[in-house]
């Protein structure tokens, strides 16, 4: 009877003398984690099935025959079990496995993209740290096996953990990878006639504990140990996958999925993974008025004046690529500054959803924009309605449009005043008379509300370049020129001030201040064990300029 009340049966075990209690069925490796003991492993991954083939996680347990080690990833805990992870027997096993894995490993660290985040390096230094005993030539394999449009495999570096094989079969549901040959000749490859062309192929690069699988997108482009990881949110679709944005000296290099069991588990799709390019390609750096470069303050004033002159004839178009804070501030501008009663929602066009993470709606914050409009009592109108009307002026907050850009640009040319807050260049940006450069989620902080109404914070990765400012700041500046008092100086203040108007409970138990706050102001040395598992030696630089960051910390 008591079992019904207690659906999860807890099991008491001891790890290296430290007692812990874990749910029945937990493996030794996860049980050890609860008391801060790390059992080294290559092939085990929480999100994949168990292979137990790397033999790195072998530990001693009191329930096994004496002298027999058991794989920590595969064996579930038993009541009263004593797990030993640091006995000489275990240490020797770890050293032997590491030596064996490195036996035919190429001398590649200097040219390997994985160097700095490589498990082989980590575990060698921790468990082996001895010279090579190989007295013959190294076994050679294919160093650049092209698996498909996105992935290259270096078979020499591979340690045959089969994480990629299991991922493609179990998560991506596209079993194109397999293990071929045996013994020293064993390699990972695609099945004959198959190509690794899958929207989730990028994950196998993250999964690969060594530098065997490489993403063609950033191969040889960055040293992993120079990159700084900032918690961010993918803007590729309305799923809102949690990511790390890896960047160096103000340049984004890649997205990596950040674990969130409720949203994206451990994964993200290639469509989103490559969306970081928009953070860098063809960015608008300077404000311009009538095609001529203008000072930011002057451009904002010109925009405010022009929009005010249009009176009620000004149409406000908000892109759901903007953050919630941006949307709220633009709504405030529309409602109180321009006395509008409706807004048009633009944004990227719809695409096809897939079976897993990718959503039809390719905008990260449609829900947030709609909530913001609701908060200010503005009627939300679809984008198609906009081109049917004849507004005297148009304020484009974000230049992403669901229709063909050139057609929209032609329509814009018939509008007297077009003010565009634009992150990237393009036909729509070119059609605007006043352009205000927009900072993206990489350069500021804020919130995206995903399709299920989940509000998620993203952190500023690096400083905004040129005259870029987030939309909430442009809106606040323009409000100032319209004679309304300046209300907020940071995204946090914008949220605190404006989110009061949101419908009660619209964001659930979301707390703006409880963000994944893993960055510290200024250049700060990090000690061992950073949040994303990066080694020490990282320097986090977050923008200190109020225009782009605006932190309350």
């Amino acid at each position: 009877m008591s079992d019904e009340k207690k659906p999860v049966q807890m099991v008491n075990v001891e790890v290296d003398g430290k007692p812990t209690s874990v749910p029945a069925g937990t493996n030794l490796l996860e049980a050890a984690k609860t008391v801060g003991v790390e059992i080294p492993h290559y092939c085990y991954h929480e999100g994949l099935s168990i292979a137990a083939n790397c033999r790195m996680c072998l530990v001693e347990v009191s329930t096994a025959p004496p002298g027999k080690l058991v794989p920590g990833c595969q064996v579930p805990v038993v009541e009263g079990q004593k797990i030993t992870t640091d006995s000489p027997r275990v240490k020797e096993q770890q050293r032997a496995v590491e030596e064996f894995l490195l036996l035919h490993h190429p001398v590649d660290c200097a040219i390997c993209d994985q160097a700095g985040e490589c498990r082989l390096q980590d575990y060698f230094q921790e468990y082996d740290y001895r010279p090579s005993r190989l007295d013959s030539a190294k076994w050679m394999k294919n160093k650049r096996k092209d698996l498909g449009p996105t992935i290259v495999l270096d078979q020499e570096r591979c340690i045959m953990c089969t994480r990629c094989v299991r991922f493609m079969a179990e998560v991506a549901k596209d079993p194109v990878l397999g293990v071929f040959g045996r013994g020293t000749r064993e390699v990972i490859d695609t099945f004959p006639g198959k190509v690794l062309d899958n929207n989730y192929s990028g994950n196998i690069v993250d999964l690969c504990p060594v530098g065997a699988l490489l993403n063609k997108d950033n191969r040889f482009r960055a040293r992993a140990y120079f990159l700084t990881a900032t918690p961010s949110i993918c803007t590729g679709c309305s799923r809102g996958c949690n990511t790390f944005l890896d960047h160096f000296q103000g340049v984004p290099y890649r997205y990596r999925p950040r674990e969130n069991k409720d949203v994206n588990q451990h994964w993200m799709c290639d469509h989103g993974r490559l969306s970081y390019h928009q953070l860098y390609d063809d960015r608008v750096l300077a404000a311009s008025v009538g095609g001529a470069k203008a000072e930011a303050g002057a451009a904002a004033e010109a925009a405010a004046t022009a929009l005010q002159a249009a009176g009620k004839g000004a149409a406000v178009v908000v892109s759901p690529v903007l953050s919630l804070e941006d949307a709220l501030a633009v709504m405030l501008l529309a409602k109180e500054g321009l006395k509008a009663t409706e807004i048009f929602v633009s944004g990227r066009g719809q695409g096809d959803a897939d079976f897993f993470l990718l959503r039809e709606d390719r905008n990260p914050n449609r829900k947030g924009v709609e909530l913001a409009a609701q908060a200010f009592g503005l009627e939300v109108k679809p984008f198609a309605e906009l081109t049917k009307g004849k507004p005297k002026a148009v304020l484009l907050a974000g230049v992403d449009v669901p229709t063909e850009g050139q057609a929209f640009a032609t329509w814009l040319s018939g509008v007297e005043t077009v003010v565009a807050m634009a992150a990237n260049g393009g036909t729509v940006t070119a059609a605007a008379k006043i352009v205000l450069p927009l900072a993206t989620h990489a350069e500021g902080e804020g919130t995206f509300v995903n399709f299920e109404g989940r509000a998620q914070r993203f952190m500023p990765a690096y400083e905004a370049k040129g005259a870029m400012q987030p939309a909430w700041r442009w809106a606040a500046t323009m409000l100032g020129h319209l004679g309304l008092e300046f209300r907020f100086a940071s995204a946090g203040e914008a949220f605190a001030e404006l989110s009061k108007r949101l419908p009660a409970g619209a964001l659930g138990d979301f707390d703006w201040k409880k963000a994944p706050r893993t960055v510290v102001k200024g250049v700060t040395p990090l000690t061992g064990g950073t949040v994303d598992g990066r080694p020490p030696g990282w320097r986090e630089l977050i923008p200190l300029r109020a225009s782009s960051a605006g932190s309350d910390a």
Partner: protein, 406 residues
């Protein structure tokens, strides 16, 4: 603490005391009669020192904090700049402390090299102190002799470490390069010349009337006061306290060589000067004994967790590449814990309190610089004395700006 000087209190009852006000005198931070960047705020009653307020901090070092931002091995260049005349003593002292924390056994040859290097630099330090002191008391020749001797030794140090001043020599677990070819003979030859110059300084100063008048019975401190102030090194031994870490808690190979600890009896400037002269003779002997005893062998611990893999391994094996990469990019991982370790540097106990959180960088580095307690005791040593006594007293405590600023 005992009253130091009576001359303030002595007032002839018959002599009418002039009602005077005390005068505040600023000396330094850059003064021709002192070396070391420090400012004294002196309150004078006539010519007698009533109050002395030393102000340090002009070098803006902040090296303890800097150490927290770099890896353990990157701290080493910072230690060069503590007592910059005897950088090797600091290098090896710091390394010994790190090795104590990591429980590394340093190869015997490396310990001999450390002893030799430290003793050469002890001679350099004492030469500098003695020569500069003589110069500031008006004797220019001893200074020239001292600098000639010091430069000879610095040439040898440059041959060994590649630098005259900022040696950055030694590595966690040993030293980074072996003694150069023919170096031992060159050091012996240099030591012969240094001994001549040292004796020259000795005879010029030790029997010089002016020098004796300026140094004897000035800057006196008693045994008890010296201990209470935390004095170590020559300044403590000049009072007659027989405490030398090399004897009391032998490290490296000091228990394998025969040397004595020169002691003073008065605790005045002259004793502090003469203890240094005698210590130079002992160091000379220690170095020569080490040369007799040193045997070929490894100079760096053979453990890739702490020592860089040999270059042939790095260039041709994956194990070597990884070992090198991890030690350079992340630093040597010193086990979690804290320790205090100390060595006898030329001016006294150079202590290191280190805390490691197990990462590649120090969590906390604190340096117990020998100069700090000496600086603290300075006012006590000159209170009531006349202003000119401050000069030899400040010289003999041999405060080094680089190490008292933490």
């Amino acid at each position: 603490m005992a009253k130091q000087h009576e001359n303030l209190a002595v007032a002839d009852a018959l002599e009418a005391k002039l009602p005077t006000k005390t005068m505040t005198l600023n000396m330094g931070p850059s003064h021709p009669a002192s070396h070391g960047t420090v400012r004294f705020n002196i309150e004078l009653d006539g010519e007698n020192i009533v109050k002395l307020d030393p102000e340090i901090g002009f070098l803006h070092r902040g090296f303890e904090k800097s150490c927290e931002n770099v890896s353990w091995s990157q701290c080493l260049p910072y230690t060069d700049r503590l007592n910059y005349v005897s950088a090797l003593c600091n290098n090896f002292g710091f390394l010994s402390a790190v090795e104590k924390l990591a429980q590394i056994e340093v190869p015997l040859r490396a310990q001999y090299i450390r002893t030799i290097g430290a003793e050469i630099h002890r001679i350099c330090d004492h030469l500098t102190c003695t020569g500069a002191m003589a110069m500031e008391l008006g004797g220019f020749s001893p200074f020239l002799y001292a600098i000639e001797a010091r430069d000879l030794l610095w040439d040898r140090i440059a041959e060994l470490t590649g630098a005259r001043l900022t040696t950055t020599y030694g590595r966690i677990g040993g030293v980074n390069r072996d003694l150069p070819e023919g170096w031992i003979q060159r050091v012996k030859d240099s030591l012969d010349r240094v001994a001549q110059l040292r004796d020259e300084i000795d005879v010029l100063l030790t029997h010089n009337r002016i020098f004796l008048d300026r140094t004897r019975h000035t800057g006196v401190i008693t045994k008890e006061d010296a201990v209470n102030f935390g004095f170590t090194g020559p300044c403590l031994r000049a009072t007659g306290v027989d405490y030398d870490i090399r004897k009391a808690h032998p490290y490296w190979v000091y228990d394998k060589v025969d040397f004595s600890v020169p002691l003073g009896s008065q605790g005045d400037n002259f004793d502090r000067y003469y203890v240094r002269i005698e210590e130079m003779k002992q160091s000379d002997s220690i170095i020569r004994q080490c040369f007799e005893q040193i045997e070929p062998g490894p100079i760096l611990v053979d453990d890739w967790r702490y020592a860089l893999p040999p270059k042939p391994e790095v260039y041709s094996t994956i194990e070597g590449v990884i070992g090198h990469f991890k030690l350079i990019m992340e630093g040597i991982k010193i086990p979690k814990g804290e320790c205090y370790a100390y060595t006898e540097s030329p001016n006294g106990e150079l202590g290191w309190y280190l805390v490691s959180d197990g990462s590649g960088r120090p969590y906390k580095v604190h340096c117990r610089a020998p100069g700090i307690p000496l600086m603290g005791g300075l006012e006590h040593m000159v209170k009531g004395a006349i202003l000119p006594d401050l000069i030899p007293t400040f010289d003999t405590i041999n405060m080094i700006g680089g190490e008292v600023e933490q």
